[in-house]
Symmetry: C2
Subunit: 85 residues, 2 copies
């Protein structure tokens, strides 16, 4: 049985997010004035081969730290679930 | 009280995801051979002003359909929660 990890990478609070600003303005233009803020990050889905639960958590955290997120300007979080057969 | 919507936009199954392939190869190079697949999508957080629960759901779905996701090649899903004060 493998695992499915879902990683959420978001710009840190205080870091400028011009893409989010652009989307917010477009939403206003399209008629959604209720949109007060937009922040755009990445959603990364990983399928992982069979390893132990503890090990998969440690290793996904490592992957985020080393490659998937830029810790200077981004935060990350993730969930791990057993993969459906 | 406002709302916080979290939108997940993912490439459809069968649609090529070269960015995901590149990240997968980098993870292999970094010593994570257990990574069987990587798909990269967008994670969009919206802060929304005070509207009714029903209305916010309808309107966020509309925003996804009209702007946030490209329905030809992407799927989307979202969650909506009351915003912490």
């Amino acid at each position: 049985m493998g695992w499915r990890a879902r990683v959420f990478v978001t710009p840190k609070q205080g870091v400028l997010d011009p893409q989010g600003k652009a989307v917010q303005q477009s939403l206003h233009t399209l008629g959604y004035p209720e949109v007060a803020e937009v922040r755009i990050g990445k959603f990364i889905e990983l399928r992982l081969a069979d390893v132990s639960r503890d090990s998969v958590e440690t290793r996904v955290r490592e992957m985020c730290d080393r490659l998937l997120a830029n810790r200077v300007i981004e935060n990350f979080s993730f969930t791990i679930d057993p993969e459906n057969p």
